[in-house]
């Protein structure tokens, strides 16, 4: 594995200084996601209007990977439909667990978030990478 690739500029940027890391005044949906074994703990805040996710933000704390992953998720889903967001969750989790490997399709659907693909070689960090996406999934199920 190339560690530098995992801790790439995209991740650094998103984890240290995310535009999306803030409360959301007009949130229609909030959901907590947490990982007791490593202490990652985030809150997703969405403003959903009809079928469209108009705004996405998050608060909480965790490692660089979970923070970046959450930020990338918010970036990706803003403006998307609920159905599109659902698909993105499914593809992202598949990418990390190694079940999805069609890079073209993944890039199409996940955009910058494909930068996290290499996490799949660090099994002990998979949980950090997928936390936000599982949280969104749970949220959209309800």
């Amino acid at each position: 594995m190339d560690l530098k690739q995992i801790y790439s500029s995209i991740i650094m940027e998103h984890s240290n200084n995310s535009e999306h890391k803030h409360e959301l005044e007009h949130a229609t949906h909030n959901e907590r996601g947490h990982n007791p074994s490593c202490g990652d703990d985030i809150q997703l805040h969405l403003n959903i209007d009809g079928d469209i996710i108009k705004e996405a933000a998050f608060t909480g704390h965790g490692c660089a990977i979970s923070q970046a992953s959450t930020s990338l998720l918010c970036e990706l889903i803003e403006g998307k439909t609920i159905e599109e967001a659902r698909l993105a969750c499914q593809k992202f989790i598949g990418m990390i667990t190694g079940d999805e490997d069609d890079m073209d399709e993944l890039e199409d659907i996940l955009g910058d978030a494909v930068a996290l693909q290499n996490i799949s070689v660090m099994p002990q960090r998979v949980k950090c990478a997928v936390l936000a996406w599982h949280t969104l999934s749970d949220m959209l199920e309800k």
Partner: protein
Amino acid sequence: MRDVLETLNNPPYDVQKIREDFDFLKVGESPTIYLDNGATTQRPRQVLERVSEYYKSENANPLRGTYHLAAASTEAYEQARKRVAKFINARTKQEIIFTRNASEALNLVAYSYGFEHLEEGDEVLITRMEHHSNSVPWQFVCQKTGAKLVYAELDGDFQLDMDDFASKLSEKTKIVSFTGTSNVLSSEPDVKKISEMAHSVGAIAICDGAQMVPHHKVDVQDLGCDFLALSGHKMYAPFGIGVLYGKRDILQHMQPFMYGGEMIEYVQDFSASYAPLPYKFEAGTQNVGGAVGLHAAIDYVEAIGFDKISAYEQALGEYCAIKLRELGTCNVFHPTKGPRGAAVAFNVCGVHPHDVASILDYKHVAIRAGHHCAQQLHRGLDIESSCRASFGIYNTKEEIDAFIDGINFVRETMGLTK
């Protein structure tokens, strides 16, 4: 008898090749004829080597590490759990809790389920042939909760008397806990039927599989029991690893048993929330070496195949029982009808079991003598203690013949022949 001899003379798998894997069977000038497999089995080289290998290159504390070795250790541990789940056909590996042995597995259910669900007026139904590990915990829980312990008795052929069982089962029965195979009589109660009957009155069914699982293909979904306990060391794995299978829905609503590292989620100063299944029931650092050994042991026996193992071992048991009966000098406590396994209990008339075992030991035959952790059963049979020869995958007809010769030597030594 013809079928039996046919099976023993043409074993369904290569028994001699299997014997090669067990260094134990070759130790010393006159290797032991080991007929105490009901107590614990020997371990094949494959299991011992896999455990050493694990310690040499994958060893770390599992579940919590963020370095690759801890991941390797976690992976080895969780693969073992998956393997056990597949082995007994559990729905998910969340239903597989690693314990120290079958006894701890049964205590876990007694504490975490029994204490929460039993109250005065309730009944716990067990059988006359339970191992102490499946009776004494229930005595304790009943004493503490005021529930009543009830015994289903045996019929004249050393099998569970299903009429008696049915008559003792009632709306009061909250827990039915029974062995899948008696460690003394080797009779094999109908787990599926008993589980159904238990469920029909709203009770849960707990199967003590310590003696069943080593000899039979087990499918918990088909059997329908709510819990199943087993011990690795009775099925070619190291000591110190056992399993409690439990249905997820039931486990999920149970309180933890032991508290500490790994089984928690968040710990506040005065209270804590607990990890999801199966971790909620695994406190402290787990025996990964043991789990890895159990994995290797399951691979080992399944590579032979349980259809073959069951057929062969049953023939060993039957042959032994027939030969003992033929001697005319023994009382044999072994069913003549109905499902029965590879252990034969007996007494040599006029000789105390301990003397039998000591004298056989002189002839390098290892059997067990005593109450076999089943005092209630022995009282039921109106004897103090008994001898037991119990078989595993590597035993042979020749070994049983030597054992039978040994019984004659016992009588001779004791001055019972001229």
